[in-house]
Symmetry: C2
Subunit: 131 residues, 2 copies
């Protein structure tokens, strides 16, 4: 069963996108394997404290991207292939790195400064991680 315990909803971004992102992170980190079952729409919405329609919207998006498969009437389950893992990894890590690098360059940072900054905040980012 796919876990949504670590999902902390934040405002400023659509909830259904945060749910999609949580699944993609799980796929990339290996927490979600091929064939893993999703909680039902109703149960997941109760767990997250959001509306079932919001969960359904996220599931619809996930199915359109091929990350889950839904048989009307039965539980949905994850579809994880090496191609999907690679696609999610590229989207999540590399996409974020590119946008940050572009921003840093636009702000006048050099490569060495950027690398040093990452080194600094890397240790900082260790604090506050869940056990």
């Amino acid at each position: 069963m796919i876990s949504f315990e670590g999902l902390r909803l934040e405002e400023g971004q659509p909830i259904y996108q945060q749910i999609v992102l949580h699944v993609k992170r799980g796929v990339v980190s290996g927490a979600i394997a091929d064939g893993d079952e999703l909680p039902s729409r109703r149960i997941l919405s109760a767990v997250l404290g959001v509306n079932p329609n919001t969960v359904q919207k996220a599931c619809r998006a996930l199915e359109e991207e091929g990350l889950i498969a839904s048989h009307a009437g039965a539980r949905s389950f994850a579809v994880v292939t090496p191609e999907i893992i690679a696609a999610c990894r590229a989207e999540l890590v590399r996409g974020g790195a590119e946008s940050w690098a572009r921003a840093a360059r636009g702000l006048g940072l050099g490569l060495d400064e950027a690398l040093e900054l990452i080194r600094e905040v890397w240790d900082c980012s260790k604090e506050g991680e869940e056990p």
Copy 2:
């Protein structure tokens, strides 16, 4: 006069926040100096192709943060102090670095992999820069 030529509006984020971000980037990169005049709300809204109220909302936010000063009836101008530059720099670069580092760690990357990824996308981010 503060330039907004390089501002390319994207959907998915409130326009007024993008305007605020553009000004902060200009302050950090040195493109905006203390006392620089802003285009009028009406002219800027025409240039960006958005509603004057949206520009006004951005200007209101900028004034509340102390980045611009507005005398009712006269042109607004930028207020750039070393403290403001430091604050903007911290908010823009370090904030982005922290969030990306946290995401990369959550995805199972190590520091060395993260640094290597930044090195890769750094060259990639050079392409597509405006002259």
